[in-house]
């Protein structure tokens, strides 16, 4: 059984710069005729966004498409929704396909909120009658009751996005394709979106989800597919695919050219457990040691290392700073290569994926010698409390820090 099925789908975006001029058109025509006469394949400029991609999504499943920027995730969704056609292969979908490619894309500035609900909703494929029934629900979700009869151009950006998401997510399609839309709005609204998505999923909607925000992927999806440069790398359970995605990112990071303008660079970075064994997976409240090997371009006096742990959001969950701790690297003059080890006795983190971020400052804390870079990645797996069931309240508030705690009830 499947709800969505890609069968050897390729998508080639032709470069159409020659379309801009008539002269170019003729040159192109000549090339075409020439190729026809010589019976050779014409080599066309362009990009292959999807390269022979095949996969299936089961009905009612929530499926994530992962991959670095430009890997073809969005193209896959565009082909699924019929916005564009595959160059080769075919896409099959059983049921009505709804999509949210960009919250607020079709919200028209000149129209009022009310007009937008009806017109945008019906352009998306909702029937007028069901729009009328759901009108209050849509407006309520978007939190725009007071301004619903004002032109949308007088709305704040957040209000516009909320309205767009609200209309699209009330489509109730059989298959729902969502692209990065949860990254918009403030935390409060993201939470609402995730709750809404959960509701759709439990209601039996098949969801295809594109996001770089791994906590959301983890929280919402069962299965996933990893794309890189238009090719399908792996597919399967979301944990495994996320793991491969992280490894892919790490691989790419290692291959990236190093910023030569910085006097310090990281040679290696790894996480170890209490026995000194290098590991990628940790249990909550386990001990962890982060080992970083540095190389300096010229002797530096008393560099200050700052290590942060992030769960994918812009702000670190935990930050350990030599500046704050007033720590010094012991030797008076640093050799060209040196190692730094940070031991965290008890990792106060909930299960999810974390990035080790690192920066190095000079002794005064003013000049930055090494930028904030993601140097390593690890996951925390298992339960935060041994007796717990691992249930998570569906508040969508993804707080990553887990402190040792106990409850008391006084009556």
């Amino acid at each position: 059984m499947w709800a969505v099925r890609f069968e050897g789908v390729s998508k080639f975006y032709r470069e159409r710069s020659w379309f801009s001029s008539l002269g170019g058109e003729f040159t192109n025509l000549r090339r075409h005729i020439g190729a026809r006469i010589r019976r050779t394949e014409l080599e066309q400029p362009g990009t292959l966004a999807l390269d022979d991609v095949s996969f299936e999504v089961a009905p009612g499943d929530s499926f994530a498409l992962l991959g670095p920027n430009g890997s073809g995730k969005t193209t896959a969704l565009r082909v699924l929704t019929g916005i564009t056609f595959p160059s080769e292969g075919r896409v099959r979908a059983r049921g009505r396909v709804g999509a949210l490619m960009e919250a607020g894309a079709a919200v028209h500035q000149e129209l009022t909120g009310r007009e937008n609900v009806y017109l945008y909703g019906s352009i998306l494929g909702l029937k007028r009658r069901s729009l009328k029934e759901r009108f209050d629900e849509i407006v309520d979700f978007a939190e725009v009751e007071e301004v619903i009869d004002k032109q949308v151009k007088y709305y704040s950006t957040g209000m516009q996005l909320r309205l767009g998401f609200s209309i699209a997510s009330h489509l109730e399609p059989d298959i729902f394709a969502v692209d990065e839309s949860l990254a918009v709005g403030d935390g409060n609204f993201q939470e609402k979106c995730i709750t809404r998505m959960r509701k759709l999923i439990t209601g039996g909607t098949t969801v295809l989800f594109v996001s770089h925000y791994l906590p959301a992927v983890d929280a919402l999806c069962n299965h996933a597919l990893l794309l890189n440069r238009g090719r399908c790398i792996t597919q399967g359970d979301v944990e495994e695919v996320v793991q491969s995605y992280v490894e892919l990112l790490e691989h790419r990071r290692a291959a990236r050219t190093i910023d030569d303008s910085m006097p310090i660079r990281v040679l290696s970075a790894c996480c170890r457990d209490q026995d000194g064994v290098e590991r990628r997976r940790f249990a909550p409240h386990e001990a962890m040691q982060i080992c970083l090997e540095f190389e300096v371009a010229y002797p530096i006096d008393d560099p200050k290392v700052v290590i942060g742990l992030s769960d994918g959001r812009a702000v670190n969950v935990i930050e350990c700073s030599m500046l704050e701790d007033n720590e010094h690297v012991c030797s008076p003059r640093l050799p060209q290569r040196w190692e730094c080890r940070l031991t965290i006795d008890e990792l106060p983190l909930k299960p999810r994926l974390y990035h080790v971020m690192c920066t190095v400052h000079d002794a005064t804390g003013q000049a930055r010698l090494f930028g904030w870079e993601n140097v390593a990645t690890f996951t925390v797996e298992g339960r935060t409390s041994p007796e717990g069931l691992g249930l998570v309240a569906q508040t969508g508030a993804d707080v990553a820090v887990d402190v040792r705690h106990r409850w008391e009830f006084l009556t």
């Binding site: 699924l80 916005i83 896409v91 009505r96 017109l119 494929g125």
Partner: protein, 280 residues
């Protein structure tokens, strides 16, 4: 999972053949989307205009004056059985509908290009919806013609019941032109600049400033065939200025020729449609 999920399956594939039947079927299924696009253009048309719907009244009258002065007065073209004022206004109003529909419909896909890149909907919906969103303006124009009849000396009678039919028949050639033009406009912005010229040229080739009866009878049906707005325009004139029945022969020829054009236009649109989101 609802039952509707099992009912049908959507397939997107690389095949190049165009099935007009499947396309029309889809268009019929999403007619609400088409009306919504129409309503959208209609609501947007006079937003933030001080005169608002007043423009729908002003537009035919504004062209009417120079027509009256130059063609009726200076050039001395006869009204073909009625006053020149009644004669020109009765055809100007439907012509302005055609002109506005072509202008708006042909640019619809470019104007809503961003929408096309983000959302799926039948691509002809904004084009047809945009074109037909001018129908209320046509209705207002017709009312004006009837209201000013005592001034212009226009006569009308029971043949007014054929006005809706004439509105449909004059929409056919307009859509036949709009569909391929709108598709072409996605690829070439030149279309946008060419359209005003094209409309002007078309005006001179249509019996608006002159009566079709200026041609010898043998050539009239040739004109109705080659320029299928002629039949309906002449029909509007007879109904709104002379108060007689439309010329069914000319109307039939125009309708047949416009229908053939419309099928070709729609087919061309569907051929070009596949790469819309990639190039717009």
């Amino acid at each position: 999972m609802t039952d509707s999920a099992v009912e049908y399956e959507i397939v997107h594939q690389s095949a190049r053949r165009v099935s007009l039947r499947a396309s029309l079927h889809e268009l019929a299924a999403s007619r609400e989307c088409l009306w919504s696009f129409g309503e959208r253009y209609l609501r947007l048309r006079y937003k933030q205009a001080a005169l608002g719907v007043g423009w729908a009244i002003l537009k035919p009258l504004a062209l009417f004056v120079p027509f009256l002065v130059f063609f009726g007065g200076a050039a001395g073209i006869s009204g073909g059985g009625t006053t020149y004022a009644a004669f020109s206004l009765s055809a100007l109003v439907p012509w302005q509908y055609v002109a506005a529909a072509v202008e708006l419909g042909s640019n619809a896909l470019v104007v809503d290009g961003n929408l096309m890149r983000k959302i799926y909907f039948p691509r002809e919906a904004p084009v047809i919806g945009g074109a037909l969103s001018n129908l209320p303006d046509l209705a207002i124009g017709v009312v004006i013609v009837l209201v000013v009849a005592p001034l212009t000396g226009a006569q009308f009678g029971p043949s007014l019941v054929f006005l809706p039919l004439l509105a449909v028949l004059i929409s056919l050639p307009a859509l036949a032109v709009i569909l391929p033009l709108s598709a072409l406009a996605v690829y070439y912005r030149d279309v946008k600049y060419g359209i005003p010229l094209f409309i002007q040229l078309w005006l001179f080739l249509s019996p608006v400033a002159y009566p079709i009866t200026a041609l010898p009878p043998r050539l009239r049906w040739v004109m109705a065939l080659l320029n299928p707005v002629s039949g309906p325009l002449e029909g509007f004139r007879r109904v709104l200025a002379l108060g007689t029945m439309p010329d069914w022969g000319l109307l039939g020829i125009s309708a047949a020729s416009a229908s053939v054009g419309l099928v070709f236009g729609y087919w061309a649109f569907k051929r070009l449609e596949r790469a819309f989101a990639d190039v717009v």
